[in-house]
């Protein structure tokens, strides 16, 4: 009799647990599939921007204003500042219905140098993780001025694998990014360039990269040697889908003026933006 009671008790407990598990599984499955569907069908394709060293998250305000001139649907602007304690401060917002917002990520530690770039790439990953959580986007485009391009490269090689199945990076545009710092010759590879080349196989293969150099004379934009910008080909060429180098000269071709350069604004419209329609002429 006692044995029988025990058997019934075990059966009852197992049955209750099974039903409970089925119920919880069902709930989770519905929630998960809904989230997957939302992301898969999402139209959102942000342009994520990182400024160069010494600049803040406000660095591209002028550029965004310029890009939004005469736009039927102006791109909204969200700015994130990552503090030294890895906290995120948001300003601005993404307008509902905006398919192609600009998201600028700046850092409290905005100093130059490889160790800082590594630190900034790690901090960018924190910001990116938060963006991934808040917004359902399945692809994005990247824009980096100066060291910003290096931070993106470091991020793509060392952190992006975690998101690969869900999020694609379609385009990366770097403006005056010193892939070999101040070195005048490719024979002297900096530690950073060596690391980038060593890990280049981790770069996404469906990515199109545009490496833009400014030139005040034949060798430099006043700060970064053209050779150093062009060193990006040793990182990207042959690994990503397309790799294009562009040199810009003339007015505003100095390193720090590049984000306001008319040619570059036009290049951004042409190569980076996909939802960009000018207002109908009235």
């Amino acid at each position: 009799m006692k044995r029988r009671t025990k058997l019934w008790l075990v059966t009852a407990i197992v049955a209750i647990m099974t039903v409970g598990l089925i119920f919880v599984s069902l709930q989770w499955s519905h929630k998960n599939v809904a989230a997957l569907t939302r992301r898969h069908n999402s139209q959102l394709s942000p342009v994520i921007m990182i400024p160069g060293s010494s600049a803040t998250e406000n660095r591209f305000d002028g550029l965004v204003k310029e890009l939004n001139k005469n736009q039927r649907n102006p791109h909204s602007l969200l700015k994130i500042r990552v503090t030294n304690k890895d906290k995120l401060q948001f300003s601005g917002r993404i307008r509902p219905g905006d398919k192609e917002p600009f998201i600028v990520v700046g850092f409290q530690n905005n100093r130059d140098g490889y160790s800082n770039i590594k630190q900034q790439a790690r901090q960018f990953n924190i910001a990116f993780k938060e963006l991934d959580k808040r917004f359902d986007f399945n692809n994005f485009k990247a824009f980096g001025h100066s060291n910003g391009g290096l931070i993106f490269t470091d991020f793509l090689e060392n952190y992006f694998a975690d998101y690969k199945d869900q999020i694609k990076i379609t385009k990366l545009m770097t403006i005056g990014s010193p892939f070999n710092f101040d070195e005048q010759s490719i024979q002297n590879k900096t530690q950073m360039l060596s690391d980038f080349i060593k890990n280049r196989k981790k770069l996404p293969t469906n990515l199109s990269v545009y490496s833009v150099a400014g030139t005040q004379n034949y060798t430099s934009d006043g700060i970064v040697p053209v050779v150093s910008v062009m060193a990006s080909r040793y990182v990207f060429q042959g690994q990503v889908k397309h790799f294009t180098t562009i040199t810009v000269s003339g007015t505003d071709a100095q390193h720090s003026d590049l984000p306001q350069n008319d040619q570059i604004v036009r290049l951004i419209k042409q190569y980076l933006l996909t939802h960009h329609k000018p207002r109908r002429p009235e």
Partner: protein
């Protein structure tokens, strides 16, 4: 027919090699049982992608989740991922013991030595690196190594010397053989040979046709019966191209019906042929509970239930044992085959959607298909019916195995 099978099996069961294998596996059982508990805890309960962890967000609220997971990792690494060492030890020990020699304990140590020598990777800049594949999935090789060591010791030991000194001569022979084996494996691992092997192995272009999936599934089961890793890994990855295409189609269409690839490793093999691990072990456990009267099997089944719920079948493979057991091989292949065919029929008739959505690792048997179809009730019912069918498939073999163990003479273990 069953009687003839019984007669053949009894003869087989009494052979020396069989006894050695059985003894070895029973040495491994307790170690691997604890290992499989640790593995289940790590992957289903404490990893963010695990079943229990996902459903109850364990990793968010449980304190010390990271060190706990590391601890479970230490246990599973040193047990299941090192199964080769224990196998070599056990086989050498059991062989020498079977031939009635006293040097069995030393032989075990020699077995370990030989296996370590074979799996040591030279050319790793002097660091202590052993071949992880051989360690974790090379149980068959380990058993052979142990057996050969045992036989060499039995044949060449000198009886006039006493104790451990007896094994010096056979030890020399074994060292020589092991070095040769190591050289051979190094040769196999060299880039040129790898390229050659890669170039001659057939690479299926269409990895999703029905016969191909059935064939690969059965091959996986057969190899796991031999304790070698099969073509399909233990759990679905959801990153192979057909699975991604299915998922994308389902997300776009909002339904899992009419998936572009209906018959894939995920939709058939992983979702319906692996309840409790390769060979629908969950059904065998239930069959033992219902039909077996032998205390040993009941104990093994009871201990193995927890890991088997989360699709870990190590304990059952070694405890019953299923490994190298010709009687249980038949249902071990038949049950998954029946499941895959029935599900394929249901899919062909469009009665059920294909399992396309991602499932957390360690999801219990029938729930894999249920979650994979985003909660299709017919799929759940079908899964339970399939388990019932599999239990009936296993039943005659469990009864036969019960009788065989009586015939084989250890009656004292039987209950009631």
């Amino acid at each position: 027919m069953m009687n003839r099978l019984l007669a053949i099996s009894t003869r087989f069961y009494k052979s020396r090699v069989t006894r050695i294998v059985r003894d070895t596996l029973s040495i491994l059982f307790p170690i691997m049982l604890l290992g499989s508990f640790a593995e289940v805890l790590k992957f289903a309960f404490l990893s963010p992608s695990g079943f229990i962890a996902t459903l109850f967000s364990v990793t968010k609220w449980l304190p010390f989740v990271h060190p706990l997971s590391q601890l479970a990792g230490v246990i599973s690494r040193c047990t299941i991922d090192m199964i080769g060492i224990y196998g070599a030890y056990g086989a050498a020990y059991s062989t020498v013991k079977e031939y009635g020699k006293k040097s069995a304990a030393v032989a075990g140590a020699v077995g370990i030595l030989s296996f370590l020598m074979i799996s040591y990777q030279t050319g790793s800049r002097g660091r202590l690196v052993f071949n992880p594949t051989l360690m974790g999935q090379g149980l068959l090789i380990a058993l052979i190594v142990g057996y050969v060591c045992g036989r060499v010791i039995v044949t060449f030991e000198r009886n006039q010397l006493s104790g451990p000194y007896q094994v010096i001569r056979p030890l020399l022979i074994i060292l020589l053989l092991s070095v040769l084996a190591n050289l051979f494996i190094s040769f196999l691992r060299s880039p040129q040979v790898q390229t050659f092997i890669f170039s001659i192995t057939p690479h299926p272009v269409q990895g999703n046709a029905f016969p191909y999936v059935i064939g690969m599934g059965l091959l996986t089961d057969l190899l796991s019966w031999l304790a070698i890793g099969g073509p399909y890994t233990a759990s679905p990855t959801f990153t192979d191209p057909p699975a991604l295409a299915n998922l994308n189609h389902a997300l776009k269409a909002g339904t899992a019906y009419n998936a572009p690839f209906k018959y894939t490793a995920t939709t058939l093999f992983h979702s319906f042929a692996n309840f409790g691990g390769n060979g629908v072990i969950l059904a065998l456990i239930i069959a033992i509970f219902i039909f077996s009267k032998r205390k040993k099997f009941l104990t093994v089944a009871r201990w193995s239930t927890f890991p088997a719920i989360f699709n870990n079948n190590y304990a059952m493979m070694l405890g019953v044992p299923i490994l190298y057991n010709p009687i249980l091989l038949i249902p071990f292949l038949l049950a998954p085959l029946v499941n895959m065919c029935v599900v394929a029929l249901f899919l062909a008739l469009n009665w059920i959607p294909a399992a396309v959505y991602p499932v957390p690792s360690g999801t219990p048997g029938p729930l894999i298909g249920f979650i994979g179809t985003n909660g299709n009730w017919l799929v759940l019912v079908l899964g339970i019916v399939l388990i019932a069918i599999d239990v009936l498939l296993y039943a005659p073999f469990v009864k036969l195995y019960d009788r065989l163990n009586e015939n084989a003479g250890d009656k004292h273990e039987t209950t009631d």
